[in-house]
């Protein structure tokens, strides 16, 4: 049932939440002796005001789309994948291996190969936690945390030893050969004299991410597998009754989730750095949790939340470039945004709902019982509320 109009639900409430987050951020900025209005202007123009700004915003967003989708997909099966960081780290390894050790005549082929490799490596890294959850009941939250650390160690080993070109201090692989360089937004959108997205890292991977959103959306809501995943997530009893095997769902979902997280590596290795750098994931797996939860585990929501975080990252960089607001202030702002739009959502929603209810009460009489009152489907984006366990 709709307590308030849909536009209020999807636009008004998040907007008010954002304003609240901004207001508190403003107070903190004031407290450290800076001008919040100025800060806001810098963030907005710096992250949205030009093709340059978008080139960074969308680059970060691309990372978060992948890790956000990874968490979101797993959420639908009530699995809490906090291993996105490790899966993306290992995904990067996959990209590096194909880029460095195989010859690529054209970037399209390299991109395809990178998609396959990063997804496969990411999936592989999720496979053991998935198997242990399905077969041994080992809690996926612990095992994925553990696998994050193991992934970091693995990469440290490889990038300080076997995969590091000798004679350099850099903890990174050698630069990838020419054939693997995928086009950036600049290459794609500049024409003639007008150069757009100059010097920015956004690249074709963004479209892979958009495609991934569409595919995940189709997977979840249009396919039999998605139907089974959601059924399992909502009710294990019903899934068993319907002949939907828990082992299959847990393993397949986690493999797909790991693959999505792994795909993120294309953006930062093949797309941006053109080499594999130690710790290149930079906690994007954890941002992915916030993105997925804020996006209500719906690919469109994930997309929007990822862009919001891209905005915060790029806007934050601009902020520290042009003011003396410390870079950690950006983390505070992120935290407030997550808090208000994610966790304190109802603080805004409840009064707004009441407002609409009052208006309606004055307008039309209360709907009769068993009329068109009950909960209807459109609010389906919400997955099981606490995807911490697959018990």
């Amino acid at each position: 049932m709709e307590r308030m109009p849909r536009w209020a639900d999807v636009l008004l409430v998040p907007l008010i939440s954002l304003i609240l987050a901004a207001a508190i951020s403003a107070i903190v900025i004031l407290a450290i002796g800076e001008n919040p209005w100025n800060a806001l202007k810098i963030m907005v123009t710096g992250a949205l005001g030009s093709s340059y700004a978008w080139g960074y915003t969308l680059y970060y967003a691309t990372n978060f789309i992948f890790t956000g989708l990874a968490v979101a997909l797993a959420n639908h099966a009530r699995l809490f994948n906090i291993g996105g960081d490790g899966q993306a780290t290992v995904g990067g390894l996959g990209v590096a291996l194909i880029a460095l050790y195989l010859p690529w005549p054209h970037w399209t082929l390299a991109l395809l190969a990178a998609i396959v490799a990063s997804a496969a490596f990411g999936a592989a890294w999720a496979a053991i936690p998935a198997y242990l959850q399905a077969k041994r009941g080992s809690h996926i939250v612990i095992t994925t945390i553990m696998f994050n650390y193991i992934a970091y160690a693995l990469l440290t080993y490889l990038l300080t030893g076997p995969m590091k070109p000798s004679g350099t201090m850099e903890t990174a692989t050698a630069p990838f050969p020419e054939g693997t360089h995928i086009p950036s937004f600049r290459d794609l959108f500049s024409h003639g004299e007008t150069i757009l997205f100059r010097g920015t890292p956004a690249n074709v991977t963004f479209f892979v991410a958009v495609l991934a959103c569409v595919l995940v959306w189709m997977l979840i809501w249009k396919t039999r597998l998605g139907y089974e995943i959601r059924a399992f997530g909502f009710s294990e009893g019903a899934a068993r009754y319907a002949g939907i095997g828990s082992t299959k769902i847990i393993v397949v979902t986690m493999l797909l989730s790991g693959a999505l997280a792994g795909l993120m590596a294309i953006n930062n290795t093949l797309g941006e750095a053109e080499r594999l750098i130690l710790n290149a994931v930079e906690g994007a797996g954890f941002i992915g949790i916030a993105v997925a939860l804020m996006g209500r585990s719906h690919p469109l929501g994930v997309f929007l939340a990822a862009v919001l975080f891209g905005f915060l990252y790029q806007g934050g960089a601009e902020l520290s470039l042009s003011t003396s607001i410390p870079r950690e202030m950006v983390v505070v702002i992120q935290a407030l945004v997550i808090m208000f739009t994610g966790a304190l959502d109802n603080m805004v929603r409840m009064p707004v709902e009441r407002l609409f209810a009052n208006r309606r009460a004055r307008g039309t009489p209360v709907a009769p019982l068993a009329g068109p009152t009950a909960e209807r489907a459109p609010d389906r984006a919400a997955p099981p509320s606490t995807p911490t366990t697959a018990e």
Partner: protein, 517 residues
């Protein structure tokens, strides 16, 4: 027509509600309800699913807050802001869905919220003593140290009653207490209620079962769609009249069916054995046959292996022994799952529609495909064929009179009866050769029961085999053609439905063997 059934005594009513209204969002659950319950009486409340009975009583118990209206206890206006206040006012309530902590012991559940001091030990000791006392007084024996998940629903209900009595309740509200009880357990409960009444306690009893109303209540109130439509003296009414007050139309209280014409055996079960996860043997060698065109009813007290039987046949549990469907053996080793069972033609209306039969957060149309979502009719390759399912759902909803007939509604938004209709529609319409039916009408109102029974009989008349498991003896007796009684994982005996009666079955259900009966 709301006649006042005040008893002749001059004492003020134990409970008086005046003009109670309550809305959940846009749903008006209670509308200007007034009722008086006299002390020392058993007062029944009946009404269809969703009529607002539980809501009204929850308001009295301080669980919900009325939007408007007044509560008087023993004639005094009383504010009941929370359950603590209700308890203080001497009210105890046994909810329709028990409010027990599953992994706590009985004793812990009883002292919860009624502890004497900060330390548990003395409270538990006192509770243990008083429990022994209460158990003697009211024939309410329970093992105080068993955990709730270990004991059956009947026992759980006793715990709920003991909880109320331990808190010195003078007014006891029971919401659909017999929905989960066997006839024997129900009779026992009524004896207890009689005891309590004799001690001067006031009892409010919510139920769908008119037989129970007639048997033990003094007065009865009827609710419909959030309103109180009548309060009458039980002695002055009859079931037919009450049913019509409830539903607002004429209803048939008996199943109308022609004699069966059994055909070839469809399901042959031999020496079926099940050991569950806790290594307890649940089925100890069960054998029976169900033929085409007949309904085999399995009677028995809950927990004697019926659930496991259905789960094994439905592909949700592994077992040993032999099961043949139309002559072909089924794999019981766990390699075949529920989906494989559907493929060979077994439909299954599970005992628990909420946790098994439906995905409550799925829409009606999505639920119509549950278990059949892989079938060609419902899928295009890897994709779900939504238009096809939708069309199918609209059709089924109409034919099975699911209300409201809106395929986009979430399953949890339907009332229990309508939820059950969705499950029954899906399973019957999938065209099974064998339909497994567990507790088809548990918690379902009279109108819906009537309908569901008709559908099951119609399927039988198409020549399909039906295995019916129910703890309602009435249902077993009126619906089945043959009846098998289960006790302790074994079949105690088989009877022709028309040649047996509740008494004989009751003995079998208690484990008294056929020869002795």
């Amino acid at each position: 027509m709301a006649l006042d059934a005040a008893s002749p005594s001059a004492a003020p009513p134990a409970i008086e509600l005046r003009g109670i209204s309550k809305a959940f969002g846009p749903v008006q659950a209670n509308r200007n309800i007034s009722i008086r319950v006299m002390p020392g009486t058993i007062h029944g409340i009946i009404g269809e699913n969703g009529a607002g009975k539980s809501t009204l009583m929850s308001i009295l118990y301080g669980f919900y807050h009325a939007d408007s209206g007044e509560i008087l206890i023993d004639g005094r206006p009383t504010r009941i802001p929370d359950s603590q206040a209700a308890i203080r006012a001497g009210i105890g309530m046994v909810f329709q869905h028990f409010k027990l902590v599953e992994n706590f012991t009985v004793l812990e559940n009883i002292v919860l919220g009624a502890e004497d001091s900060g330390l548990l030990r003395p409270s538990l000791a006192r509770a243990r003593r008083e429990l022994r006392q209460l158990a003697k007084e009211y024939e309410l024996d329970v093992d105080p140290d068993a955990t709730i998940e270990e004991i059956g629903v009947g026992m759980q209900q006793r715990v709920e009653i003991l909880k109320a009595l331990y808190r010195k309740a003078d007014i006891l509200i029971l919401d659909e207490p017999t929905g989960v009880l066997t006839p024997a357990e129900a009779d026992h409960l009524f004896r207890i209620l009689g005891n309590l009444k004799a001690q001067g306690k006031t009892i409010v009893l919510i139920t769908h079962k008119l037989r129970e109303i007639m048997a033990i209540t003094d007065n009865v109130s009827v609710m419909r769609r959030g309103e109180m439509v009548a309060t009458v003296r039980t002695a002055d009414t009859n079931p037919q009249q009450l049913a019509e007050l409830m539903v607002g139309r004429k209803v048939l209280l008996r199943v109308d069916k022609a004699p069966a014409t059994p055909g070839a055996p469809v399901l042959e079960v031999e020496n079926l054995r099940v050991v569950d996860a806790k290594k307890v043997e649940r089925l100890k060698g069960v054998s029976f046959t169900v033929r085409a065109g007949e309904i085999l009813g399995i009677a028995g007290v809950a927990g004697n292996g019926q659930s496991e039987l259905l789960e094994v046949l439905g592909g949700m549990m592994r077992a040993t022994g032999s099961v043949r469907l139309k002559g072909r053996p089924l794999d019981l080793s766990g390699r075949e799952d529920a989906r494989d069972r559907r493929e060979v033609g077994i439909g299954h209306v599970p005992e628990d529609r909420q946790s098994e039969g439906l995905v409550l957060d799925y829409t009606a149309w999505e639920n119509m495909a549950l278990g059949y979502h892989h079938r060609d009719a419902f899928a295009n390759g890897p994709f779900i064929d939504r238009p096809a399912i939708m069309k199918n759902t609209i059709d089924k909803m109409q034919r099975f009179d699911v209300r409201p007939p809106d395929p986009m509604l979430l399953a949890k938004s339907f009332s229990g009866g309508n939820q059950q209709k969705i499950v029954v529609a899906r399973e019957i319409e999938s065209g099974p050769d064998l339909l497994l039916v567990g507790q088809p009408t548990r918690g379902v109102d009279i109108g819906a029961i009537e309908f569901i029974h008709k559908q099951i009989v119609a399927l039988r008349d198409q020549g399909k085999a039906i295995l019916l498991v129910s703890v309602e003896l009435d249902e077993i007796l009126s619906l089945s053609d043959r009846i098998a009684v289960m006790f302790d994982g074994r079949i105690m005996g088989e009877r022709i439905a028309s040649e047996t009666n509740a008494g004989e079955l009751g003995l079998l259900m208690a484990g008294v063997t056929g020869e002795a009966a």
